[in-house]
Symmetry: C2
Subunit: 279 residues, 2 copies
């Protein structure tokens, strides 16, 4: 992998996002906590120790916030870890109070929160039932991200944890501007029911969220990609490869040249350095 | 209502979309069919008879396709009906074969299919559970639309019913272009599992779907609204007021002047005339 990926593409840092089995969302709390601990040890001892360019995620058994806090505190200050990791399909929506201790601990540790798609919510992939094709499940990941972003904003998480930074991973990014317009429109009309929000939803969206590139939602017209990214904020988009998955994005060609050198450099490198504090 | 709405705003035609109670999605098939029939009678006898500018929807008891077909055939050729109406939160995703007889009957009757948000799927509003606030449920309507559009395309509905035209109502529209990019990207990589699709998903999206304006997802910058509408197609967007709901859009001010007179005329009037065959 060093030869095939890190050296070949000249990668300075890669954040590992362990999916399954990693203990996340397991229904047995002890098993979940033990597996999350083991995966975290494995990331630093097996991967980071062999190549320090690989940064680890603090995998947490997120359905058990107390155990999650313990795991975050155990890794606090250890610069081999880049962020705290959850998955999008939680048992309840992420804004709900049961998950707040995780956000508090992430802020204390000075770590962003990464939220990768997948996970096990115990519910159908769509809010109207199970689809027939894999491509439909893939598409639903973006809908799960939208529900989670909305929940985090509406429940007042960022009023309580103003330092919290959240990265949504592998859920696409094209949905983000429209979600902001939709939430602002609803908030203008329903804000009397949301007195705990001090600002328009799109302001929280802009200040607290980052998104990653893979999978790229690429308009036919390259100018529209630039417009879309502009609406999100060029400083809010992080390159992700999805390596070693079969549908990974080749770093050499993922971002079209039409974006320009400076913006490509931001997305490939500068934004992640700023967010994670990589040198 | 004539004085307050139709005359006041100079409205030539309004399509009525009865929501609840209208028999749609009821769990008792006989009750569902009886109520749908009654609502259709009510629309023509109580509303259209008093003011023929008001066009009716063929409300169908869509969880019972056989009864739905009977109701569509009963109204076939009756120009007082503008389209067949379903709701977004069906028991199963709309692309699945159980609903195909409805699409076949709509095509036979030469009627578009309207799909209005709401309904009862028996599932939580989001694929990650129930939200706390009404604004979150409102936001989830757009996700339900995305799941349904995806299902209709992926299951091959439009290969089997090439005449079918579908209008998504009150789910917003800003999600549509990005959904097309996302589906095309996935299809390029997964098309071997979708041999029944002859074209890219975005082509079905463009040829078979219409959206309505209310609620407007309005970017701060009016130029971005024009870009967004352009990506959808200015000929694919129908004005909807949501009258008489509290959050309805005032026809006088809903569409910003920056769109230009011709495009505003298309959206306010021309597109609906073309789709529904209104004179």
């Amino acid at each position: 992998m060093r030869k095939q990926h890190l050296d070949f593409y000249g990668i300075d840092y890669g954040v590992m996002n362990p999916l399954a089995p990693s203990g996340q969302g397991e229904q047995n709390d002890e098993y979940s906590a033990a597996l999350a601990f083991a995966i975290n040890e494995h990331q630093i001892n097996h991967w980071n120790a062999l190549d320090p360019r690989l940064k680890a995620s603090v995998v947490v058994p997120y359905e058990d916030p107390e155990a999650s806090v313990k795991e975050i505190r155990r890794r606090s200050g250890d610069r081999r870890f880049a962020h705290v990791l959850m998955l999008t399909r939680t048992s309840e929506l992420m804004g709900r109070r049961r998950y707040w201790p995780i956000y508090e601990a992430a802020c204390e540790a000075g770590l962003p929160l990464g939220v990768h798609v997948f996970g096990y919510s115990g519910r159908a992939a769509s809010n109207t039932g199970w689809p027939s094709f894999y491509i439909e499940e893939m598409t639903e990941h973006s809908n799960a991200c939208q529900a989670q972003v909305t929940s985090l904003i509406m429940e007042g998480v960022f009023e309580n944890f103003p330092q919290l930074k959240v990265v949504f991973i592998e859920g696409g990014f094209g949905w983000l501007p429209t979600l902001g317009y939709r939430l602002d429109r609803g908030w203008q009309r329903m804000r009397s029911g949301l007195p705990h929000l001090k600002r328009a939803p799109s302001e929280y969206l802009h200040d607290h969220f980052w998104v990653t590139t893979q999978p790229m939602e690429e308009p036919e017209n390259p100018a529209h990609l630039a417009d879309l990214m502009q609406a999100i904020g060029f400083d809010r988009i992080l390159f992700s490869s999805d390596y070693p998955h079969w549908d990974f994005d080749d770093p050499f060609v993922a971002l079209p040249a039409s974006l320009g050198e400076e913006r490509r450099r931001q997305i490939y490198s500068g934004n992640a350095r700023a967010l994670y504090g990589f040198e």
